[in-house]
């Protein structure tokens, strides 16, 4: 899977590794979710872009909080 536009040009700040798209699991309000995100192929550090944080993730959070 190719990197989304907002994730191109990044490398891992911790180890300098390249990013690849992986399935990342997270838990919020007792729900377990999976989302495809760019992550370092060496150490696994995940990149959450501003667009994702303020877009889909914020929308999902609002719905889970029943707002």
């Amino acid at each position: 899977m190719s990197l989304p536009v907002e994730a191109t040009g990044w490398s891992c700040a911790a180890c300098g590794g390249e990013l690849e798209i992986v399935k990342v699991g997270f838990t919020y309000m007792k729900g377990n979710f999976e989302v495809d995100l760019p992550a370092c192929r060496e150490c696994g550090q995940v990149l959450v872009s501003e667009e994702l944080a303020t877009g889909k993730m914020a929308d999902a959070e609002r719905i889970l909080e029943d707002k």
Partner: protein, 223 residues
């Protein structure tokens, strides 16, 4: 469950089912299991799943519980898919308001996340009552409108809890259990958003300032 229009139903969407799995509703089979736990049907009990989609629940009822289950759905696409997956399943195309079975054919009917999509819900409930034997159970889960104010957005045929209960009573049912499972609806909507799936046309829709629906599970019995 598919709708009556000729354009493809959002419930037939591959992207949607990548998120929901084989069951296209909040809670999936977990909520079905919860209802079955409350009903305690004996092995071999004859059950009908109205709005069965591709028959995942029918398969579950037969293989995990040993029930004599069959299903109907308005979508020929989903029924064909179910029969392709498992030709032994008893699945047929039918509307909830015109079920192709004789009266008193079943001990239980499941209708999960479907009634709010049905054109004539009262007619469907009358059919369910006709299909069920005396003391039979109706397992119903669906969206509901949580406040009396006019809902915005895409709540389609969802009604208030009072309205749903009134319909059931009017149709000859006694409600024996009602539970709120809105958290499961919200979780499904969040999963769909994170997967990049549009909520347009789906039961868990509404965005922005629109009133969000709740989700209930109930069990009702015939006299």
């Amino acid at each position: 469950m598919g709708d009556l229009s000729l354009k493809p139903s959002p419930y037939e969407s591959v992207l949607l089912r990548d998120v929901t799995g084989t069951t296209i509703r909040p809670g999936g089979l977990t909520l079905t299991d919860r209802a079955l736990e409350l009903c305690s049907f004996a092995i071999g009990t004859q059950l009908l799943d109205v709005g069965c989609g591709a028959g995942a629940s029918v398969e579950h009822l037969r293989s995990c519980y040993g029930y004599d289950a069959c299903g109907v759905d308005i979508s020929p696409t989903l029924i064909a898919e179910g029969l392709l997956r498992n030709p032994a399943l008893q699945l047929s195309v039918a509307a909830a308001e015109a079920l192709p079975f004789a009266a008193d054919s079943f001990d239980g009917i499941l209708c999960e996340c479907v009634l709010s999509l049905v054109e004539e819900p009262l007619k469907a409930l009358a059919e369910f009552e006709r299909m069920l034997r005396s003391g039979g159970s109706l397992i119903l889960s669906d969206l509901y409108v949580k406040t009396a104010t006019e809902p915005k957005g895409n709540l389609r045929g969802a009604v208030t809890r009072n309205q749903a209960e009134s319909w059931l009573t009017q149709s000859g049912f006694t409600i024996v259990m009602w539970e709120d499972h809105t958290a499961l609806l919200n979780e499904l909507a969040a999963r769909l958003i994170l997967a990049g799936c549009s909520l347009d046309g789906l039961c868990c829709g509404t965005s922005g300032s629109g009133q969000r629906p709740g989700y209930y599970l109930l069990v009702a019995r015939t006299a």
